[in-house]
Protein backbone atom coordinates (compact mmCIF):
# COMPACT_ATOMS: atom_id res chain seq x y z
CA UNK A 1 0.00 0.00 0.00
CA UNK A 2 1.27 3.42 -0.98
CA UNK A 3 1.96 5.90 1.74
CA UNK A 4 -0.15 8.95 2.46
CA UNK A 5 2.23 11.38 0.78
CA UNK A 6 2.09 9.52 -2.51
CA UNK A 7 -1.69 9.29 -2.48
CA UNK A 8 -1.95 12.96 -1.67
CA UNK A 9 0.22 13.79 -4.67
CA UNK A 10 -1.99 11.74 -6.93
CA UNK A 11 -5.14 13.34 -5.62
CA UNK A 12 -3.62 16.74 -6.26
CA UNK A 13 -2.65 15.90 -9.82
CA UNK A 14 -6.07 14.45 -10.61
CA UNK A 15 -7.71 17.55 -9.21
CA UNK A 16 -5.56 19.71 -11.48
CA UNK A 17 -6.42 17.62 -14.55
CA UNK A 18 -10.07 17.79 -13.62
CA UNK A 19 -9.92 21.55 -13.60
CA UNK A 20 -8.66 21.48 -17.16
CA UNK A 21 -11.21 18.98 -18.42
CA UNK A 22 -14.00 20.87 -16.70
CA UNK A 23 -12.91 24.14 -18.31
CA UNK A 24 -12.68 22.45 -21.70
CA UNK A 25 -16.13 21.01 -21.20
CA UNK A 26 -17.55 24.46 -20.58
CA UNK A 27 -15.78 25.88 -23.60
CA UNK A 28 -16.87 23.17 -25.99
CA UNK A 29 -20.44 23.25 -24.75
CA UNK A 30 -20.49 26.96 -25.56
CA UNK A 31 -18.97 26.37 -28.98
CA UNK A 32 -21.35 23.49 -29.56
CA UNK A 33 -24.32 25.75 -29.01
CA UNK A 34 -23.03 28.05 -31.74
CA UNK A 35 -22.14 25.20 -34.08
CA UNK A 36 -25.55 23.61 -33.54
CA UNK A 37 -27.29 26.84 -34.44
CA UNK A 38 -25.25 27.10 -37.61
CA UNK A 39 -26.01 23.49 -38.43
CA UNK A 40 -29.73 23.99 -37.96
CA UNK A 41 -29.58 27.05 -40.21
CA UNK A 42 -27.71 25.21 -42.92
CA UNK A 43 -29.62 21.93 -42.87
CA UNK A 44 -32.48 22.99 -45.18
CA UNK A 45 -29.93 24.18 -47.71
CA UNK A 46 -27.66 21.16 -47.37
CA UNK A 47 -30.40 18.57 -47.80
CA UNK A 48 -32.37 20.69 -50.25
CA UNK A 49 -29.29 20.99 -52.41
CA UNK A 50 -28.64 17.26 -52.45
CA UNK A 51 -32.24 16.53 -53.30
CA UNK A 52 -32.45 19.16 -55.99
CA UNK A 53 -29.17 18.16 -57.60
CA UNK A 54 -30.15 14.53 -57.84
CA UNK A 55 -33.55 15.51 -59.22
CA UNK A 56 -32.00 17.77 -61.83
CA UNK A 57 -29.42 15.17 -62.75
CA UNK A 58 -32.09 12.51 -63.11
CA UNK A 59 -33.64 14.65 -65.85
CA UNK A 60 -30.39 15.36 -67.60
CA UNK A 61 -30.09 14.04 -71.13
CA UNK A 62 -27.59 11.29 -71.76
CA UNK A 63 -24.48 13.08 -72.78
CA UNK A 64 -20.80 12.56 -72.61
CA UNK A 65 -19.14 15.15 -70.49
CA UNK A 66 -16.09 15.66 -68.34
CA UNK A 67 -18.25 16.03 -65.25
CA UNK A 68 -19.83 12.65 -65.80
CA UNK A 69 -16.49 11.02 -66.49
CA UNK A 70 -18.02 8.98 -69.30
CA UNK A 71 -16.18 10.25 -72.34
CA UNK A 72 -14.30 7.80 -74.50
CA UNK A 73 -10.97 8.81 -72.95
CA UNK A 74 -12.38 8.40 -69.47
CA UNK A 75 -13.69 4.95 -70.23
CA UNK A 76 -10.29 3.91 -71.57
CA UNK A 77 -8.55 4.80 -68.30
CA UNK A 78 -7.83 1.78 -66.20
CA UNK A 79 -6.59 3.56 -63.10
CA UNK A 80 -8.71 6.39 -61.79
CA UNK A 81 -6.92 9.20 -59.99
CA UNK A 82 -8.81 9.60 -56.76
CA UNK A 83 -8.81 12.63 -54.52
CA UNK A 84 -10.03 12.49 -50.94
CA UNK A 85 -11.07 15.57 -49.03
CA UNK A 86 -10.76 14.58 -45.39
CA UNK A 87 -12.28 16.81 -42.74
CA UNK A 88 -10.79 16.36 -39.27
CA UNK A 89 -10.50 18.67 -36.29
CA UNK A 90 -7.70 21.13 -35.63
CA UNK A 91 -7.13 19.81 -32.14
CA UNK A 92 -7.27 16.49 -30.39
CA UNK A 93 -9.00 15.76 -27.06
CA UNK A 94 -12.24 14.98 -28.82
CA UNK A 95 -12.66 11.31 -28.05
CA UNK A 96 -12.75 9.09 -31.10
CA UNK A 97 -13.82 11.90 -33.44
CA UNK A 98 -10.53 12.40 -35.28
CA UNK A 99 -9.63 8.76 -35.06
CA UNK A 100 -12.82 7.62 -36.79
CA UNK A 101 -12.39 9.99 -39.71
CA UNK A 102 -8.73 9.11 -40.13
CA UNK A 103 -9.42 5.40 -39.99
CA UNK A 104 -12.10 5.60 -42.70
CA UNK A 105 -9.92 7.82 -44.87
CA UNK A 106 -6.93 5.53 -44.46
CA UNK A 107 -8.96 2.48 -45.49
CA UNK A 108 -10.27 4.28 -48.56
CA UNK A 109 -6.82 5.56 -49.45
CA UNK A 110 -5.32 2.10 -49.14
CA UNK A 111 -7.90 0.73 -51.55
CA UNK A 112 -7.18 3.38 -54.17
CA UNK A 113 -4.24 2.84 -56.46
CA UNK A 114 -3.65 6.41 -57.49
CA UNK A 115 -4.62 8.73 -54.67
CA UNK A 116 -4.16 12.17 -53.35
CA UNK A 117 -5.31 13.57 -50.03
CA UNK A 118 -6.71 17.03 -49.40
CA UNK A 119 -6.82 17.63 -45.71
CA UNK A 120 -8.88 20.05 -43.70
CA UNK A 121 -7.84 20.30 -40.06
CA UNK A 122 -4.50 19.93 -38.37
CA UNK A 123 -4.91 16.48 -36.78
CA UNK A 124 -5.45 14.69 -40.06
CA UNK A 125 -2.63 16.64 -41.68
CA UNK A 126 -0.16 15.55 -39.00
CA UNK A 127 -1.27 11.96 -39.24
CA UNK A 128 -1.10 11.59 -43.00
CA UNK A 129 2.07 13.63 -43.41
CA UNK A 130 3.89 11.50 -40.87
CA UNK A 131 2.77 8.40 -42.76
CA UNK A 132 4.18 9.80 -45.98
CA UNK A 133 0.83 9.69 -47.74
CA UNK A 134 0.54 11.78 -50.92
CA UNK A 135 -0.87 14.90 -49.29
CA UNK A 136 -1.43 18.07 -51.28
CA UNK A 137 0.25 20.61 -49.04
CA UNK A 138 -0.98 23.61 -51.00
CA UNK A 139 -4.51 22.75 -49.92
CA UNK A 140 -4.34 24.20 -46.44
CA UNK A 141 -7.52 24.97 -44.55
CA UNK A 142 -8.59 25.01 -40.95
CA UNK A 143 -11.69 23.18 -39.78
CA UNK A 144 -12.45 25.90 -37.28
CA UNK A 145 -15.36 28.30 -37.90
CA UNK A 146 -16.52 27.16 -41.34
CA UNK A 147 -17.49 29.89 -43.76
CA UNK A 148 -18.97 30.02 -47.23
CA UNK A 149 -15.88 31.83 -48.42
CA UNK A 150 -13.63 28.96 -47.39
CA UNK A 151 -15.92 26.48 -49.13
CA UNK A 152 -15.73 28.58 -52.29
CA UNK A 153 -11.93 28.71 -52.26
CA UNK A 154 -11.78 24.97 -51.67
CA UNK A 155 -14.19 24.36 -54.53
CA UNK A 156 -12.18 26.49 -56.96
CA UNK A 157 -9.10 24.50 -56.05
CA UNK A 158 -10.68 21.07 -56.39
CA UNK A 159 -12.76 21.76 -59.49
CA UNK A 160 -9.74 23.29 -61.18
CA UNK A 161 -7.77 20.09 -60.58
CA UNK A 162 -10.68 18.08 -61.86
CA UNK A 163 -10.95 20.17 -65.00
CA UNK A 164 -7.26 19.71 -65.69
CA UNK A 165 -7.91 16.01 -65.25
CA UNK A 166 -5.42 15.66 -62.47
CA UNK A 167 -8.25 14.07 -60.55
CA UNK A 168 -10.86 11.71 -61.91
CA UNK A 169 -12.86 11.11 -58.79
CA UNK A 170 -13.34 13.30 -55.76
CA UNK A 171 -14.64 12.04 -52.45
CA UNK A 172 -15.28 13.84 -49.24
CA UNK A 173 -14.89 12.13 -45.86
CA UNK A 174 -16.65 13.97 -43.06
CA UNK A 175 -18.60 13.37 -39.88
CA UNK A 176 -22.33 13.77 -39.81
CA UNK A 177 -24.14 14.53 -36.62
CA UNK A 178 -27.15 12.24 -36.37
CA UNK A 179 -28.24 13.37 -32.92
CA UNK A 180 -26.48 14.70 -29.87
CA UNK A 181 -25.41 11.21 -28.83
CA UNK A 182 -24.50 9.79 -32.19
CA UNK A 183 -22.31 10.82 -35.05
CA UNK A 184 -21.17 8.90 -38.08
CA UNK A 185 -18.36 9.15 -40.58
CA UNK A 186 -19.73 9.53 -44.07
CA UNK A 187 -18.13 9.27 -47.46
CA UNK A 188 -19.71 11.08 -50.36
CA UNK A 189 -18.61 11.14 -53.95
CA UNK A 190 -18.64 14.72 -55.21
CA UNK A 191 -17.30 14.23 -58.71
CA UNK A 192 -17.97 12.87 -61.24
CA UNK A 193 -21.68 13.50 -61.05
CA UNK A 194 -24.16 10.69 -61.33
CA UNK A 195 -25.57 10.27 -64.80
CA UNK A 196 -29.22 9.97 -65.71
CA UNK A 197 -28.57 6.33 -66.52
CA UNK A 198 -26.97 5.68 -63.14
CA UNK A 199 -29.73 7.31 -61.13
CA UNK A 200 -32.34 5.36 -63.04
CA UNK A 201 -30.53 2.11 -62.38
CA UNK A 202 -30.19 3.01 -58.73
CA UNK A 203 -33.87 3.79 -58.43
CA UNK A 204 -34.86 0.54 -60.12
CA UNK A 205 -32.50 -1.45 -57.93
CA UNK A 206 -33.86 0.20 -54.81
CA UNK A 207 -37.38 -0.51 -56.03
CA UNK A 208 -36.58 -4.18 -56.47
CA UNK A 209 -35.09 -4.40 -53.04
CA UNK A 210 -37.88 -2.21 -51.75
CA UNK A 211 -35.56 -0.12 -49.65
CA UNK A 212 -33.47 3.03 -49.62
CA UNK A 213 -34.98 6.33 -50.55
CA UNK A 214 -36.87 4.64 -53.32
CA UNK A 215 -39.66 6.77 -54.46
CA UNK A 216 -42.32 5.51 -56.85
CA UNK A 217 -43.04 8.99 -58.12
CA UNK A 218 -39.38 9.73 -58.76
CA UNK A 219 -39.00 6.54 -60.77
CA UNK A 220 -42.03 7.26 -62.92
CA UNK A 221 -40.81 10.70 -63.74
CA UNK A 222 -37.18 9.99 -64.50
CA UNK A 223 -37.83 10.05 -68.23
CA UNK A 224 -40.06 13.13 -68.16
CA UNK A 225 -39.02 15.93 -70.41
CA UNK A 226 -37.47 18.86 -68.64
CA UNK A 227 -36.43 22.19 -70.05
CA UNK A 228 -32.85 23.01 -69.20
CA UNK A 229 -32.19 26.64 -69.84
CA UNK A 230 -30.04 27.99 -71.48
CA UNK A 231 -28.37 24.65 -72.26
CA UNK A 232 -27.46 21.50 -70.38
CA UNK A 233 -23.77 22.29 -70.71
CA UNK A 234 -24.08 25.73 -69.20
CA UNK A 235 -26.32 24.59 -66.40
CA UNK A 236 -23.95 21.73 -65.70
CA UNK A 237 -21.01 24.10 -65.37
CA UNK A 238 -22.88 26.17 -62.78
CA UNK A 239 -24.33 23.17 -61.06
CA UNK A 240 -20.94 21.62 -60.41
CA UNK A 241 -19.68 24.70 -58.59
CA UNK A 242 -22.93 25.02 -56.68
CA UNK A 243 -23.00 21.42 -55.69
CA UNK A 244 -19.38 21.17 -54.60
CA UNK A 245 -19.44 24.45 -52.71
CA UNK A 246 -22.76 23.73 -51.06
CA UNK A 247 -21.76 20.23 -50.12
CA UNK A 248 -18.37 21.22 -48.77
CA UNK A 249 -19.91 24.00 -46.71
CA UNK A 250 -22.49 21.61 -45.32
CA UNK A 251 -19.84 19.00 -44.59
CA UNK A 252 -17.66 21.57 -42.82
CA UNK A 253 -20.55 22.71 -40.65
CA UNK A 254 -21.61 19.14 -39.85
CA UNK A 255 -18.05 18.22 -38.98
CA UNK A 256 -17.43 21.17 -36.74
CA UNK A 257 -20.65 20.52 -34.83
CA UNK A 258 -19.70 16.86 -34.49
CA UNK A 259 -16.24 17.80 -33.29
CA UNK A 260 -17.50 20.08 -30.55
CA UNK A 261 -20.06 17.49 -29.57
CA UNK A 262 -17.43 14.75 -29.40
CA UNK A 263 -15.11 16.99 -27.40
CA UNK A 264 -17.86 17.90 -24.99
CA UNK A 265 -18.75 14.27 -24.40
CA UNK A 266 -15.11 13.25 -24.05
CA UNK A 267 -14.49 16.00 -21.51
CA UNK A 268 -17.67 15.13 -19.66
CA UNK A 269 -16.62 11.52 -19.28
CA UNK A 270 -13.06 12.57 -18.37
CA UNK A 271 -14.44 14.73 -15.57
CA UNK A 272 -16.71 11.90 -14.44
CA UNK A 273 -13.81 9.47 -14.42
CA UNK A 274 -11.66 11.90 -12.47
CA UNK A 275 -14.41 12.23 -9.90
CA UNK A 276 -14.69 8.46 -9.54
CA UNK A 277 -10.93 8.17 -9.17
CA UNK A 278 -10.85 10.89 -6.55
CA UNK A 279 -13.53 9.11 -4.59
CA UNK A 280 -11.68 5.80 -4.50
CA UNK A 281 -8.36 7.52 -3.85
CA UNK A 282 -9.71 9.51 -0.89
CA UNK A 283 -11.13 6.27 0.49
CA UNK A 284 -7.72 4.65 0.12
CA UNK A 285 -6.05 7.68 1.64
CA UNK A 286 -8.27 7.50 4.70
CA UNK A 287 -7.67 3.82 5.04
CA UNK A 288 -3.90 4.26 4.82
CA UNK A 289 -3.97 7.11 7.30
CA UNK A 290 -6.11 5.07 9.71
CA UNK A 291 -3.76 2.12 9.34
CA UNK A 292 -0.78 4.34 10.09
CA UNK A 293 -2.46 5.75 13.20
CA UNK A 294 -3.48 2.30 14.41
CA UNK A 295 0.03 1.08 13.92
CA UNK A 296 1.48 3.99 15.82
CA UNK A 297 -0.89 3.44 18.73
CA UNK A 298 -0.09 -0.25 18.79
CA UNK A 299 3.57 0.60 18.86
CA UNK A 300 3.13 3.09 21.71
CA UNK A 301 1.06 0.66 23.72
CA UNK A 302 3.52 -2.13 23.02
CA UNK A 303 6.42 0.10 24.12
CA UNK A 304 4.61 1.19 27.29
CA UNK A 305 3.80 -2.41 28.16
CA UNK A 306 7.39 -3.42 27.70
CA UNK A 307 8.52 -0.56 29.92
CA UNK A 308 6.02 -1.48 32.64
CA UNK A 309 7.17 -5.09 32.61
CA UNK A 310 10.75 -3.94 32.94
CA UNK A 311 9.84 -1.72 35.94
CA UNK A 312 7.98 -4.57 37.67
CA UNK A 313 11.03 -6.77 37.28
CA UNK A 314 13.26 -4.12 38.82
CA UNK A 315 10.89 -3.66 41.80
CA UNK A 316 10.92 -7.36 42.45
Amino acid sequence: MANTKEIQNRIKSIQDTMKITRAMYMMSSMKLRKARQKLADTEPYFYGLQEQISEILSHFPDMEHLYFDNRIDDRAETVKKKGFIVITGDKGMAGAYNHNVIKTAQTLANEAEDRRLYLVGETGRQYFLSRKEPVDTAFHFSAHNPSMHRARVMTEYIVDLYQREELDEVYVVYTRMINSMKEEVEVQQLLPLKTHEFIKKELIENAQKGEGNYNREALDRVDDWFLIYPSPRQVLEKLVYNYVTGFLYGALVESSASEENARMMAMQSATDNAEAMLKSLSMEYNRVRQAAITQEITEVIGGAKALRKKKKKQVR
Binding site: G48, E55, R152, V153, P230, L239, T245
Partner: protein, 137 residues
Protein backbone atom coordinates in the same frame (compact mmCIF):
# COMPACT_ATOMS: atom_id res chain seq x y z
CA UNK B 1 -54.18 35.64 -60.49
CA UNK B 2 -53.08 32.07 -60.07
CA UNK B 3 -50.37 31.47 -57.56
CA UNK B 4 -47.61 28.93 -57.16
CA UNK B 5 -45.54 28.01 -54.15
CA UNK B 6 -42.09 29.51 -54.01
CA UNK B 7 -39.29 28.39 -51.79
CA UNK B 8 -36.07 30.34 -51.55
CA UNK B 9 -33.36 28.57 -49.57
CA UNK B 10 -30.11 30.31 -48.72
CA UNK B 11 -27.21 28.60 -47.07
CA UNK B 12 -28.00 30.03 -43.64
CA UNK B 13 -31.79 30.07 -43.62
CA UNK B 14 -35.01 29.46 -45.51
CA UNK B 15 -35.46 32.93 -46.94
CA UNK B 16 -39.02 32.59 -48.18
CA UNK B 17 -41.52 29.78 -48.25
CA UNK B 18 -45.00 30.61 -49.46
CA UNK B 19 -47.31 31.59 -52.26
CA UNK B 20 -46.41 33.99 -55.01
CA UNK B 21 -47.84 35.02 -58.37
CA UNK B 22 -44.73 35.97 -60.27
CA UNK B 23 -41.00 35.61 -59.85
CA UNK B 24 -38.39 37.58 -61.79
CA UNK B 25 -34.77 36.52 -61.55
CA UNK B 26 -31.51 37.34 -63.30
CA UNK B 27 -30.84 34.47 -65.65
CA UNK B 28 -27.96 33.56 -67.88
CA UNK B 29 -28.89 36.03 -70.63
CA UNK B 30 -30.99 38.60 -68.83
CA UNK B 31 -34.00 38.66 -66.57
CA UNK B 32 -36.54 35.92 -66.73
CA UNK B 33 -39.98 35.66 -65.20
CA UNK B 34 -41.86 32.63 -64.00
CA UNK B 35 -45.61 32.55 -63.46
CA UNK B 36 -47.98 29.81 -62.39
CA UNK B 37 -48.24 26.98 -64.89
CA UNK B 38 -44.74 27.40 -66.22
CA UNK B 39 -43.31 24.30 -67.86
CA UNK B 40 -40.91 22.15 -65.86
CA UNK B 41 -37.54 23.82 -66.07
CA UNK B 42 -34.10 23.95 -64.57
CA UNK B 43 -31.99 27.04 -64.86
CA UNK B 44 -29.27 29.02 -63.18
CA UNK B 45 -29.46 32.30 -61.34
CA UNK B 46 -26.77 34.91 -61.66
CA UNK B 47 -25.65 37.25 -58.91
CA UNK B 48 -28.16 40.07 -58.74
CA UNK B 49 -31.60 41.06 -57.62
CA UNK B 50 -34.70 38.90 -57.68
CA UNK B 51 -38.23 40.11 -57.13
CA UNK B 52 -41.44 38.25 -56.51
CA UNK B 53 -45.02 39.34 -56.29
CA UNK B 54 -47.09 38.18 -53.38
CA UNK B 55 -50.77 37.26 -53.84
CA UNK B 56 -51.73 40.66 -52.38
CA UNK B 57 -49.97 42.34 -55.29
CA UNK B 58 -46.98 43.74 -53.43
CA UNK B 59 -43.49 43.20 -54.78
CA UNK B 60 -40.70 41.83 -52.64
CA UNK B 61 -37.07 42.35 -53.47
CA UNK B 62 -34.00 40.39 -52.50
CA UNK B 63 -30.35 40.38 -53.43
CA UNK B 64 -29.06 36.90 -54.16
CA UNK B 65 -25.77 35.38 -55.06
CA UNK B 66 -25.74 32.75 -57.74
CA UNK B 67 -27.55 29.49 -57.53
CA UNK B 68 -29.98 27.08 -59.13
CA UNK B 69 -33.65 27.22 -59.90
CA UNK B 70 -36.10 24.43 -60.48
CA UNK B 71 -39.64 24.87 -61.73
CA UNK B 72 -41.81 21.86 -61.27
CA UNK B 73 -45.60 21.42 -61.25
CA UNK B 74 -46.63 24.72 -59.71
CA UNK B 75 -43.67 24.63 -57.37
CA UNK B 76 -40.55 26.70 -57.69
CA UNK B 77 -37.38 25.97 -55.73
CA UNK B 78 -34.56 28.44 -55.53
CA UNK B 79 -31.25 27.41 -54.02
CA UNK B 80 -28.81 30.26 -53.59
CA UNK B 81 -25.70 30.82 -51.49
CA UNK B 82 -27.16 33.89 -49.89
CA UNK B 83 -30.33 35.94 -50.01
CA UNK B 84 -30.85 39.27 -48.30
CA UNK B 85 -33.57 41.85 -48.16
CA UNK B 86 -32.40 45.32 -49.22
CA UNK B 87 -32.83 46.67 -45.69
CA UNK B 88 -30.65 43.91 -44.26
CA UNK B 89 -27.68 44.76 -46.40
CA UNK B 90 -24.73 46.26 -44.64
CA UNK B 91 -23.66 48.87 -47.18
CA UNK B 92 -20.38 49.61 -45.42
CA UNK B 93 -19.41 45.99 -45.44
CA UNK B 94 -20.35 45.64 -49.08
CA UNK B 95 -18.36 48.74 -49.94
CA UNK B 96 -15.33 47.41 -48.09
CA UNK B 97 -15.72 44.07 -49.84
CA UNK B 98 -15.93 45.80 -53.23
CA UNK B 99 -12.79 47.81 -52.50
CA UNK B 100 -10.95 44.71 -51.35
CA UNK B 101 -11.99 42.75 -54.43
CA UNK B 102 -10.95 45.61 -56.74
CA UNK B 103 -7.57 45.76 -55.05
CA UNK B 104 -7.10 42.03 -55.40
CA UNK B 105 -8.04 42.21 -59.07
CA UNK B 106 -5.28 44.76 -59.61
CA UNK B 107 -2.69 42.32 -58.43
CA UNK B 108 -1.35 39.43 -60.36
CA UNK B 109 -3.28 36.36 -59.33
CA UNK B 110 -3.78 32.79 -60.36
CA UNK B 111 -6.86 32.01 -62.41
CA UNK B 112 -8.59 30.55 -59.37
CA UNK B 113 -7.94 33.61 -57.26
CA UNK B 114 -9.04 35.81 -60.12
CA UNK B 115 -12.37 34.06 -60.37
CA UNK B 116 -12.94 34.29 -56.64
CA UNK B 117 -12.17 38.02 -56.54
CA UNK B 118 -14.33 38.64 -59.57
CA UNK B 119 -17.25 36.84 -57.98
CA UNK B 120 -16.85 38.73 -54.72
CA UNK B 121 -16.78 42.01 -56.62
CA UNK B 122 -19.98 41.06 -58.44
CA UNK B 123 -21.64 40.14 -55.15
CA UNK B 124 -20.56 43.35 -53.46
CA UNK B 125 -21.86 45.43 -56.38
CA UNK B 126 -25.16 43.59 -56.39
CA UNK B 127 -25.51 44.24 -52.68
CA UNK B 128 -24.75 47.91 -53.08
CA UNK B 129 -27.21 48.22 -55.94
CA UNK B 130 -29.81 46.39 -53.89
CA UNK B 131 -29.23 48.69 -50.94
CA UNK B 132 -29.98 51.62 -53.23
CA UNK B 133 -26.51 53.06 -53.12
CA UNK B 134 -24.65 54.38 -56.10
CA UNK B 135 -22.01 51.96 -57.18
CA UNK B 136 -18.67 53.76 -57.15
CA UNK B 137 -16.84 53.37 -60.40
Amino acid sequence: MRTFSLKIIACDRVFYDGECTMLVFPGFDGEMAVMAGHEAMTSTIEIGEIRYQLPDGSWQYAVVSDGLLKVDRSKVNLLVYSAEKPEEIDAFRAEAAAARAREQLQQKQSLQEYRISQASLARAMARLRGAGKNVPR
